[in-house]
Symmetry: C2
Subunit: 366 residues, 2 copies
Amino acid sequence: MIEETPVPLVDLDRLDRNLDRMAAYARGHNLHLRPHTKTHKSPRIAAEQMARGAVGLTCATLLEAEVMAEVSHDLLLAYPPVGDSKLQRLMALPESAEITVALDSAAVIEKLVDAARQHGRRVGVLVELDVGMRRIGLPGLEEAVRLARLVAAHPPLVYRGIAFYPGHIRQHISGQAAELERLSRAVQAAVESFDQAGVRPEIVSGGSTPTIWNTHEIGGVTEIRPGTYAYNDRITAQLGACDWNDCALTILATVVSTAVPGQAVIDAGSKALGREPAENQGDGYGALLDRPEVVVRRLSEEHGVLDLADTSWRPAVGDQVRVVPNHVCIAVHLHEMVYGIRGDRLEAAWPVKARGRRPLAASLGV
Amino acid sequence: MIEETPVPLVDLDRLDRNLDRMAAYARGHNLHLRPHTKTHKSPRIAAEQMARGAVGLTCATLLEAEVMAEVSHDLLLAYPPVGDSKLQRLMALPESAEITVALDSAAVIEKLVDAARQHGRRVGVLVELDVGMRRIGLPGLEEAVRLARLVAAHPPLVYRGIAFYPGHIRQHISGQAAELERLSRAVQAAVESFDQAGVRPEIVSGGSTPTIWNTHEIGGVTEIRPGTYAYNDRITAQLGACDWNDCALTILATVVSTAVPGQAVIDAGSKALGREPAENQGDGYGALLDRPEVVVRRLSEEHGVLDLADTSWRPAVGDQVRVVPNHVCIAVHLHEMVYGIRGDRLEAAWPVKARGRRPLAASLGV
């Protein structure tokens, strides 16, 4: 059907089912759903998410926000906008868009106040807490409350609440359920501290893919920002957060060499799949949709080596295979387009429109 | 100077020096230099390589070949073209381009003969040998000789020689010098076998970055295909195949959070740097050009975590840093453009023109 590989295929029936399931989960637990668009970077899919009741969209980059403003008037930039250029792009988003920013420093607040005043633009703010991931966010509540008050005192900024990302919690690992309970208590304690300090969070935005179906158990959470669920991937399946047949995106690849015994080389390497480790260490970089026991064991830039140790299947040069990547957000970012299929029929070709960054050349006058 | 990050910067003085050094090495040892364009994917840099005496260019993808045909009439596709679409694109390369293909199967030869006859086009062939890397290439000489004869018997294919890639040899590791000697004897033996079978290789194309400056010691080699040397990177420096101050490409990034003690978060994550392991296991994903002791310890999609354990330096939100990526070929592939600087002056903006693949939409009529 499709001659030229490597190319990302989206099973549209699975995509629909994945979008429906998350919308139903959020609705069923009275959680606002604000899908993270980093996974698909596609306004087409974002529009499907909005149509299923999402309250708005989450973006990590300015380009994502610019593209997603086409389909939603309520955008969360879940990333501190640092530097004049990013602030100018934020302010230049369509007037119709309500913007909220997640941040964790007074330095960002000061610059954001200046930009918002200059443009006379309301900007909502979530104060980012670190709940153990040790990436971004304030580990201490005192400092976090101080930032919330700083925001509240500086219109046209609007203090809206708190955000956190418990990406370190692996719910399927025994003993980690206790960690989810600890997190729940910590979030509740944070909400109380903010409340007592006069900065009650209207929005408590949190959750992560490994724990996504249990987010309603985290006391006080009002909003979830899942991204991966639209496509799912091998890691999500390994985490138990989706079934293998919920994986909607695969990389179609072609066998190009069987010269070395015990393996087959495909034309999808690290530049098509991404070199993302599996949830289980050393377990390759992807697996075949129809033969999950066949793992992409090694990667070069344009070569993926299929390990045939656990299968009697012996492919020939020219055979096509569909690889479920370990981490779909990274795989999608490596391609200009994704192609939608229903059964054997090619139905759609969607640009990965929010991929990358805006070239600087024009603004730099080179 | 440059506001918006993450963005790849190329130190043009270092680039010039790197290109000069390799050209001098090849000239000094009577080796033909056919640079691999996968690293920069830029016709502008390929033209500089040609101007310094390269005999032609190496490409891995059809898009690379299409773009590089602008600047060279002698192209090696070092990758088996499998499938009608790729064969058609190969045949559609400008008439002026002399094309050579590296392959390792009779299946590819058969299809290639058909396409070449249909288009009345001469296509050179190198038979790919596996010399221990276990990726692509024939492990056995008998089968390799058989393929060479098959090619020689099927004009307009032209048997031109053999290719190999000893990417598994790490010259700096003690005891591996012996492995280079073993490789040299194996290549010499291969050349003799081919010669005795009446298919003497006119071209013996080989070498890899870790052993690049010793390729002349591998008996019989006539041609080298280095790629990384144009930019170099942290792995190449760790291998001892370049100095730290030969690293010409860095990712300019901005500190966006210092909320968690002992670290600083920058806006270059796996979508800007690539998640490529260092030569020394567990040694992060890149390091600062001016402070190589500061390592990018962890990556999320848009976050890089700088480990401040080995430095007294404490950056502030808004500070800019330049990161030398572990594997530059992967980092470049994540960006639309690279920007050339000389000292503090921005001099050039070059598209990464051969990045990715040609969108299928047009040909599929979606």
